[in-house]
Amino acid sequence: MSYSGRRKIVSAIAEALCAVAVILALLPLAMILFYVIKQGFTSLNWAFFTHMPKPVGEPGGGMANAIVGTLILIGLAATMAVPVGCICGIHLAEYPDSRFASVVRFAADVLNGVPSIVVGIFAFGLVVLPVKRFSAIAGGVALGMLMIPVVVRTTEELLRLVPTGLREAALALGATRARAVFTVIVPAALPGILTGILVATARIAGETAPLLFTALNNSYWSTNITQPIASLTVQVYTYANSPYDDWHRQAWAGAFLLVMITLTLSIIARLAVRGLERMNRP
């Protein structure tokens, strides 16, 4: 066979392999989405958002308490993790070679790899045991601990992508180092940092394990952060494990909502980046 003929065949095979790999990678995602939407969307109705769970056997009811609970938990986690994570990331980007920075970086990577159930147990020991009560705060601490390393590393990486030229320009105009960081470097990296925060939020929104021993669950309406609180993930877990068809349908609807929350956060992140980048990029 001619050289060019063989080249074309090799190219076609390589392309086919790539296509297969892409399909294999995307198939699970497509199936999850398809199944969750198929099962969840049909179980979803207005009452799901506005009503409280009903006792077994009574039809209807919703997850209003769990939806609000999840939002509260996310809010608590972000309040703790975003300031700590961002400031930490700034430190790592500004003093990349200090010994302290390498310790912090290593710690963040280790924390990022710790199974979420372990983080849950830790928060249980730290927050629940001393006061002998499950609470939304404990759940927020657990989720915040999962969020911190992601925020730290994204902030650091994005700050380091900011060209040195910008820093030099600011310093050459008589800016102090801190001024250059907060008025030029951080704003230049902000779209990326925000995306990182949203992605981290989306990730913790779907956590179940760390909430099992911290926020626990709550069948009633509660917004008190010192009390146990319901969350979508734990509610889905509980309902899916039950033997009742009604609850199964509710679990599907909850799963659907979780997927939608993640999707919405990702879309917001993308839109925010696009909006901010219009100013930033050539």
């Binding site: 030229g165 910008l166 320009a169 105009l173 008589g174 001024r179 008025t183 990029r281």
Partner: protein, 274 residues
């Protein structure tokens, strides 16, 4: 084309009266200046006097230390880890490497324009206003006036006056570089350091920058690093030729190009190596 009124504005310094006295006398004096990156010595005992409100060009092959040298004049090299300076550089008689020197204040007196234009990811207006704001100016009317003056002096006003609040990256490469010059001028420095300001620009944009340098030397002491021999010949009054971290020859530009003392200078300016 510029109107007469604008020409007059250009001739007026931003907020400093032009004084004929002192023009051409030594503004920056460099004595036995050595520079090290870690153990590597990159500048060897540089001695030179840079005249007030003249253009001084630094030429030489890549890696000869001219960029390191120009960055020593506003202590920009301070941000490089393990970099170390020895000897003195004085501006108006004061050693800028003396202990206790306020580097921030120094950099406000010694503006810098970089090889790669580096506008902030902000609007055109905010780019110019940046230096003024960090200097404590927040009065909107004062800011507006100085932003306009700086842009006029950098010959950019006519092109951007209707879109001051658009992002700086909407400008062309040449315009971005003039924006960076305007930004440096806004804080009213006495000295302007330019590190190959036109090397990334096309010939037309380069011509504009050169004309600008010509206009600016009425009010500013300008030090420019360039790889372009014609550019050095066109814009500068004095030329310093650097080679392997040493100052080989420093004289009037005409002398360097027409009648250099050193064989090495002659070889370089006539393009025999480089």
């Amino acid at each position: 084309m510029m109107t007469t009124i604008e020409m007059e504005r250009i001739a007026t310094p931003v907020n400093r009266e032009p004084a004929e006295s002192g023009k051409g006398t030594s503004k920056i004096s460099v004595q036995n200046f050595d520079f090290y990156y870690g153990p590597a010595k990159v500048l060897h005992s540089i001695n030179l006097e840079i005249p007030d409100r003249r253009v001084t060009a630094l030429i030489g092959p890549s890696g000869c230390g001219k960029s390191t040298f120009i960055r020593s004049i506003n202590r920009m090299n301070d941000i490089i880890p393990n970099a170390r300076a020895k000897g003195t550089i004085t501006i108006d008689g004061r050693d800028i490497y003396a202990a206790g020197t306020d580097v921030v204040a120094l950099r406000r007196r010694v503006g810098m324009v970089f090889q790669k234009s580096n506008p902030f990811p902000k609007s055109i207006y905010d780019n110019i206003a940046y230096g003024l704001r960090i200097g404590g100016m927040h009065n909107k009317r004062e800011l507006n006036a100085l932003v306009e003056k700086s842009l006029i002096r950098a010959a950019l006003w006519d092109e951007v006056k209707d879109r001051l609040h658009e992002g700086a990256f909407t400008l062309s490469g040449g315009q971005q570089q003039r924006l960076c010059i305007a930004r440096a001028l806004a804080v009213d420095p006495e000295i302007l350091l330019m590190d190959e300001p036109a090397s990334a620009l096309d010939p037309i944009a380069t011509t504009k920058i050169e004309e600008l340098i010509w206009d600016l030397k009425v009010n500013y002491t300008i030090v420019i690093v360039t790889h372009n021999m014609q550019q050095a010949a066109r814009v500068s009054d004095r030329t310093a030729f650097f080679m392997l971290g040493r100052l080989v020859e420093y004289a009037d530009t005409k002398t360097i190009f027409m009648n250099p003392k050193e064989k090495m200078t002659e070889d370089y300016v006539t393009g025999r190596f480089g």
